[in-house]
Amino acid sequence: MRKNLNVIAAYSIMMVLILMVGIFQSWNIALSIFNLCLISAVMTMGANIQWGYAGLINFGIMGYTALGGLAAVLISVDPVQEAWRAGGFDILMSLWLIVVMVLVIRFILKRFEKSKIRTYSIAAIIISGILLIRFSAEPGIEAIEAVDPAKTGFLGGFGLPIIFSWIVGALFAGGLAFIVGKVALGLRADYLAIATLLISEIVIAIIKHEDWLTRGVKNVIGLKRPAPYEVDLQTTDWFIKLVEKFNSGKLSVIENLADRQAALNQLVIEGSSVFVKLCYSGLFLVVVIILLILTQKALYSPWGRMMRAIRDNEEAANAMGKNVVKQHLLIFILGSAIVGIAGAMLVTQDGLFTPGSYRPMRYTFLIWVMVIVGGSGNNFGAILGGFVVWFLWIEAAPISLFLINFFTAGIPETNALKAHLIESVPYFRFLLMGLGLLFIMRYRPKGILPEKIEIK
């Protein structure tokens, strides 16, 4: 118990902070912060597996998040029959061509010795293959995008419950990580960082501009939900009764029957959105707890010890007969898959997929700040990092507004400097994040909850 005291203390403080938001601002805000904290925690767990366990630096978190989001769209949206009829055949043909191309390249790689001719012929196959695919897919893509472009204009998905996408998102992200890992894992740390950052930008470019698959910047809205809709709840009897019961004290004070009914209606509307958010919180909490148990088990298993050995001394681990390349690839895939789950969760919660909103600041660098601040190598630290940083990211604007008003209290409202500062309040969150990262790295380089390995 004693040794876990700082963990318990840190989490209690965090919970108190969120409760305070609930009491002083509103429960709606508190719950939406809490939900995004949970999603961030899943992301940081993914990044922490890669960085904390194995020392692999992955700046492509944005790409895996977006792929998870794409999975949510492809799983939950109903298929657009007309689009499939218009261009489905061309698309399937092109997919087939890609498979053939990959198989041919694999065959050449296996069959022939490494030589200049082999390299050039592979390059020729890739280039001619891309041209061929472009020509064969072009009419199909145009036909699909012409199908009712204001509403659909894409192939749609499979029409399954959106929860499945959490698994599929992990598969998508893991698949991409397999390719990226095969290609880039041999690079030195800072090169790997740059390469993964750029690859994630390529992924975003593809998602943004292949309208037939993702609707691109036209966004997909109105995704299915695993939770009930607010509008339905507001007309359900048991829910109204529940709200009445919860607020019976408050309601009984009101004498007038009409007033009481109006107050109840207001409470039901507020309560419904809180209830929906609570449903999401429950689902997300389950994911976080499952992942936490799994990652903790992995950390203290022989496999976890091997990963730490590889992280701390690659050559020695290699000499002991551990396959460093294979393990690096494995952990790269695992970590990215977890990030993919988070991506799907995020889109599930929002109910919409907006490729334009994926930006490296928010989805890559902020997650890294969370990992570093929380404590890399320690799962509890990583989750705490997700909570603390997301909380500050959201609450930075109100806090800085309060501070500006406090320090410039004597200056009139019309003062140009004060007006300018108040206008730029949203950007103080960057300052806060940057300073926080710099201070943590300087004075507590292992994070708030540092890695502690006990040998049992």
Binding site: A184, A189, F365, L421, L431
Partner: protein, 336 residues
């Protein structure tokens, strides 16, 4: 005649824009490469430092404009750049003193430096946005065109026009002067040579009495000059927006690595490699073939290898390929 038209077409839409864009990237890439070669870390704050320098330049430009000072046909920003540079260098030295110096003395691994530079990136981004705001700023004044497309057509009687913006000429001219001065400095002066020695082998350089403090100082000064001028030229040619500058970090990194990181000349050429491949691969060649080929063979489609949406993706793909097959870059940088 058709042949001349085709050449003019390529000049107007490919060669001149790519040369301009390449020059802007090249200055940034040399900045990245110098920091990497001498201070030994990948600086993720590159784009934002450039936007800080540009911001300082814009503020001085506005100040000069309010005073009524101008350079006539040339943009006022040229007058403001030296002041912008001073501010940029001061900011960089401040950051070095409070942030990077500690890790240099600790001999931290490059990854830790990169993480720290992300902190600097956040802070710089906040500073720029708080001071000047996140919006689009144009600060160009003076004569916009040297040759207008219509005038060129009238002058030569050709079908195709050639437009030459003054910012393009300024960019190319300034880049040539700056880069030649820089290479003269690095290769001919004592300080420049000692910088190279420090980059090649730190211990040996220290043994031979090179003062590391001076090297670091000079590196930041050069970096400040490059960042401000590169950023200001980009802002003059297009427009200034903090978010665009942050994004520009990526092709700049690509240019520096393609050219062989740690090798300034490679970075200089890398800028053009990236710019030209981006524009060559995403240009629609239909009109070009219409001039060159006989009528019966004219293409129906746009003859575009990749849609312009994938402009950034092109440079990143090149980088990934180079990283995999030749991690030391095309022009042999540090072997890493």
């Amino acid at each position: 005649m058709d042949f001349v038209n085709a050449i003019i077409l390529l000049l107007n839409y490919i060669f001149i824009p790519a040369l301009t864009y390449g020059s802007q990237l090249a200055l940034g890439a040399i900045f990245v490469t110098l920091i990497y070669g001498i201070l030994r870390f990948a600086n993720f704050a590159t784009g934002d430092m450039m936007s800080f320098g540009t911001m300082a330049t814009i503020l001085f430009t506005w100040y000069f404009q309010s005073l009524g000072v101008s350079l006539g046909v040339l943009p006022t920003a040229l007058l403001a750049i030296p002041f912008g540079i001073i501010f940029m260098i001061l900011y960089m030295l401040l950051i070095d003193k409070f942030v990077f110096k500690y890790y240099r003395h600790q001999k931290s691994p490059p990854v830790q430096f990169a993480m720290v530079s992300i902190g600097v990136m956040f802070v710089t981004q906040a500073v720029v946005r708080i001071i000047i705001g996140p919006g689009d700023r144009r600060f160009f004044d003076g004569e916009k065109f040297i040759i207008k497309a219509r005038e060129f057509k009238e002058m030569t009687g050709l079908n195709e026009g050639l437009a030459l913006k003054s910012t393009q000429v300024i960019t190319i001219f300034v880049t040539i002067v700056l880069v030649s001065l820089l290479f003269w400095f690095l290769n001919r002066t004592k300080t420049g040579k000692s910088m190279k020695a420090y980059s090649d082998n730190e211990d040996l350089a220290l043994l031979s009495g090179i003062d590391p403090k001076k090297i670091v100082l000079v590196t930041w000064v050069i970096a400040g000059i490059l960042a401000t001028i590169g950023g200001a030229l980009y802002g003059l040619d297009k427009s200034f927006k903090p978010f665009t500058y942050f994004n520009n970090m990526l092709p700049i990194f690509a240019a520096a690595i393609v050219g062989g990181i740690g090798n300034p000349f490679g970075a200089f050429l890398g800028g053009y490699v990236i710019a030209f491949s981006e524009i060559l691969l995403t240009y629609a060649y239909k009109k070009f073939f219409m001039y060159v080929l006989p009528e019966s063979m004219e293409p129906n489609s746009l003859v575009q290898l990749l849609s312009t949406d994938y402009k950034f993706a092109v440079s990143f793909s090149i980088l990934v390929i180079v990283l995999i097959y030749r991690p030391s870059g095309i022009f042999k940088g540090k072997v890493l």
